[in-house]
């Protein structure tokens, strides 16, 4: 495939058919937000349970706690052992995964319609009654440590971790979601139990049910299983957003590789900011697709990279904008110059009409493919709810993107693209 678009938690929302509501939304008495989209044609159902229990809530000295908690949710419940959970869902050819990211912990279910009751039973068990058996905690800790070690082989992962530390100094976003081998070694079952009890609660949970199911059926089945989940006393924990960007820094990591992986990054803005729309267009013009400026210059014309692209990474407490390229070691300085020049060029002059039109038409026109399966719709719904964008966000996105002018693009580029404002990481055979 052409290029690896690594989306760090990126939501690229856009339009649905204008006017058609994306989903039914209601709030259950215990605070759960329930979203339902009926897609009757294919007899499958996708369910997402999103709890505001991501790594951003890890205590300072407990990096990796949310990630460990997420990984343990399916590893034993009040009624089933981990192997029993696995066997139950896999016997019907379904899947059940629980994983924590930066902001949230998500449980994802995919089943055939005929197996929905079983699937929802399993979802409610892992959400409401995980038992965190001590042997499973020990097992998972060593597995995560090994996975962290293995990920050190991947230059993109190594570069992303360093970049996060530079972009978010002193903020939980600067710490890897999975923690470090050392921090994970310190985590205990008590930490997990406490984290789960504090952070996984109905009043910050969003449930999406999408597929061959009706609103009534979804409401009935979800209420039957999650309706009695009691809201705890006390307000949910709040997190301080990242505000002022830190002074940009540069770092290198030496690895014996034939390529250098270069990443530029800085703070940006969330979808709730009106400038998000022109910034999305600016990012697409710069490095969003195979007609972008970076792709044309670094890849098509200079033959210096296979992968070169930019992206906006959305996150509740501090969005980021980044550019990355992988090139042969000897040419890394040249690619750094090219990226900086292209960033600067975006700030200096207006984008051409054709570039603008292409970016806008792509962002709007490709949107239906972001909602073309029940799984994708479910992911989109919980993200829109979590980010507080509203169910009309799809239509609004389309309309806002359509209104972006060349002048808007230059204005946001002048604000967010000055090369001197970027942190930079290089992983490779640095002399």
């Amino acid at each position: 495939m052409r290029a690896v678009i690594v989306l760090l938690g990126m939501v690229v929302p856009g339009p649905a058919a204008a006017g058609a509501p994306l989903a039914h939304r209601e709030v259950l008495p215990n605070g759960i937000v329930l979203l339902v989209a009926e897609r009757p044609a294919v007899p499958i159902v996708a369910v997402r349970v999103l709890a505001r229990a991501g790594a951003v809530f890890d205590p300072d000295d407990r990096a990796g706690l949310a990630h460990l908690t997420g990984a343990l949710l399916t590893r034993g419940t009040a009624t089933r052992t981990a192997p029993e959970v696995d066997s139950a869902i896999e016997f019907v050819g379904g899947s059940l995964e629980a994983v924590a990211g930066r902001d949230n912990l998500t449980v994802a279910l995919s089943v055939q319609k005929k197996d929905l009751a079983l699937g929802l039973d399993l979802v409610s068990e892992v959400v409401l009654s995980p038992t965190f058996p001590p042997a499973e905690v020990t097992r998972k800790v060593s597995e995560i440590q090994a996975a962290i070690r293995r990920s050190e082989e991947d230059p993109g992962t190594v570069a992303s971790r360093v970049l996060a530390r530079l972009v978010y100094p002193g903020h939980p976003y600067g710490v890897p979601v999975e923690g470090t081998r050392e921090s994970v070694a310190r985590l205990t079952r008590d930490d997990v139990v406490k984290f789960y009890a504090q952070q996984v609660r109905p009043d910050t949970t969003v449930v999406a049910v999408v597929g061959a199911v009706t609103v009534d059926e979804a409401r009935r089945e979800i209420t039957a299983r999650l309706g009695a989940w009691a809201r705890p006393a006390g307000a949910p924990q709040s997190i301080t957003p990242v505000t002022a960007p830190a002074s940009p820094r540069e770092e290198t990591v030496k690895r014996e590789l034939t390529q250098s992986t270069i990443m530029f990054g800085r703070l940006a803005i969330r979808q709730t900011d009106p400038d998000y729309f022109p910034l999305s267009v600016a990012s697409y013009v710069l490095g969003g697709g195979s007609a972008s400026r970076l792709y044309a210059r670094v890849r098509d014309e200079a033959g210096l990279a296979y992968a070169v692209y930019s992206w906006l990474s959305t996150a509740r407490y501090g969005a980021a904008f980044a550019v990355t390229a992988q090139t042969r070691t000897a040419e890394a300085p040249k690619v750094v110059v090219m990226v900086r020049e292209e960033l600067a060029r975006m700030t200096r002059g207006a984008v051409a009409e054709r570039e603008l039109a292409l970016a806008k038409q792509y962002l709007v026109g490709s949107f239906p493919f972001r909602l073309d399966t029940s799984g994708k719709v479910a992911d989109f719904l919980v993200a829109v709810e979590d980010q507080g964008l509203g169910l009309d966000y799809a239509d609004r996105y389309k309309e806002r993107i359509a209104r972006v002018t060349a002048r808007d693009v230059q204005r946001v580029a002048a604000k967010y693209f000055p090369p001197a404002t970027f942190n930079r990481v290089t992983v490779g055979e640095i002399k």
Binding site: R139, E153, Q259, Y306, R328, G365, S366, P368, D372
Partner: protein, 436 residues
């Protein structure tokens, strides 16, 4: 643009899709030999339009490996009427997404786009089937891109590097031993003349297939395809791939040392492809061994005994020629590759010696069938699945696939394990980390 989905390992069973589709497929072959499969799907106003060429690294020669993939990159570099970069521009400014991949057997191009843009895509694809520029300067520049791609996927990726080495010792005669992306030396050497000849030989309507699934009227779409592709002249039938891999008469082994954190072990056995009556049983066997967390390798090696960080297996049901049945494992820190190799082999021996349980068999069948149903949700995957079955003999095979899977018995599994997994038919690859 673009690249190889180098799927040597873990192209997980392109799980096929459920029945209701195939009977509504409009299938025809144009006078010039172009095969056309159309399936209306009106759930969303979108279409996936795909062109599959029956050419991959399987059709390459020693000294010119990677040419099929190199050509795939060049397919985005323009025709006389649509210059370099125009293809991507036209697709993107119409809100479409396009890409391509090269495998051992095929090269596939797709555009996923709003259904009302279908005519444009048909014209673009027909144009580049016949009129590709293949300009020497563009080839020179794209060569560097392909080299970078190889560095990313192979030179700097321990798993990619090892799988290439194992394939190359497992196949002595058949081109499945060549890396899809090509050896570095070949990528650097291949000439524009060779690429042009390869294009003329294989990019002909009678060696290609058009598959579209989406919100269109099949008769109108077919008419448009006929007008655009129908005027491309039939080419001379490409020479068949004659190489047959001789039986392996002893274990083969390769050890690679590379900067890495953990070792990797790969085992590959020569097995038959879908033409064999044993193929459905091999498919089920692969699922029992490695389909999910209840599978044997995960449950035993990863979960219960924690010997491996990852362990799995893969069988290429759709392979045009007989290919390898893969096993792999990444040892946990403190475990050795020798241990994991022995454990993987023990699992194979156990399959020969004792029957799988009824539950294991039923679960594997349900997983395979369910994956079929899930694929029906995406027009892109529906189209790709039709193409996969058409390539092995006809899209209608899709309907009998599940029947064949359902018919597999416990005794079949014991038998195929005994027939195909002899130690002397095995190739072993070990990656040993070189400390930083």
């Amino acid at each position: 643009m673009r690249t190889v989905v180098v799927f040597l390992l873990v192209v997980s069973l392109l799980a096929p899709s459920a029945a209701p589709a195939a009977d509504r497929v409009v299938a025809t072959t144009l006078d010039n030999g172009l095969r056309v499969l159309l399936l209306e799907d009106h759930r969303s106003p979108i279409v996936s339009f795909q062109v599959w060429y029956r050419v991959g690294s399987r059709n390459e020669q020693r000294g010119a490996t990677g040419i099929a993939h190199f050509l795939e990159h060049m397919m985005f570099k323009g025709t006389p009427t649509r210059g370099p970069k125009q293809f991507a521009r036209l697709v993107e400014e119409n809100g479409g997404q396009d890409n391509a991949f090269t495998s051992q057997d095929v090269t596939s191009y797709f555009v996923d786009i709003a259904a009302d843009k279908l005519d444009l895509v048909i014209e673009l694809e027909a144009d580049r089937m016949q009129n590709l520029l293949l300009d020497a300067k563009q080839i020179a520049s794209e060569r560097e891109v392909v080299i970078e791609e190889r560095r990313t996927r192979t030179e700097d990726d321990p798993g990619g590097f090892l799988s290439e080495e194992v394939s190359s010792i497992a196949f002595k005669a058949h081109p499945y031993g060549y890396p899809i992306i090509g050896w570095m030396e070949d990528i650097k050497r291949i000439t524009p003349a060779e690429i042009r000849a390869f294009y003329r030989t294989y990019y002909i309507p009678n060696n290609a297939m058009v598959v579209a699934v989406g919100a269109f009227q099949a008769p109108a779409a077919l008419e448009k395809i006929r007008r655009s592709f129908g005027r491309i002249p039939r080419g001379r039938t490409p020479a068949p791939v004659l190489a047959v891999e001789p039986p392996q008469n002893g274990e083969r082994r390769v050890t690679v040392r590379k900067e890495a954190e953990l070792p990797i072990v790969y085992l590959g056995w020569h097995v038959p492809n879908q033409r064999s009556d044993d193929a459905p049983a091999l498919e089920v066997l692969s699922t029992i061994l490695s389909g999910g967390r209840a599978s044997r390798l995960y449950r035993d090696l990863v979960y219960q005994r924690q010997l491996a960080l990852e362990a799995g297996g893969d069988y290429s049901y759709f392979s045009i020629d007989p290919n390898l049945f893969w096993f792999w494992a990444t040892p946990m820190p403190g475990q050795t590759p020798e241990t994991l190799e022995a454990e993987l082999s023990k699992h194979m021996e156990r399959l020969k010696a004792e029957p799988v349980t009824d539950e294991e068999l039923a679960r594997a069948k349900n997983q395979i069938e369910s994956a079929f149903v899930f694929q029906e949700d995406s027009v892109h995957r529906r189209a790709a699945l039709l193409a996969r079955f058409e390539l092995i003999g006809g899209y209608a095979l899709k309907d009998s696939f599940i029947t064949k899977i359902r018919a597999v018995t416990v005794a079949d599994l014991t038998r195929v394990a005994g027939v195909w997994f002899a130690p002397e038919r095995k190739s072993v690859g070990v990656l040993l980390p070189k400390p930083r």
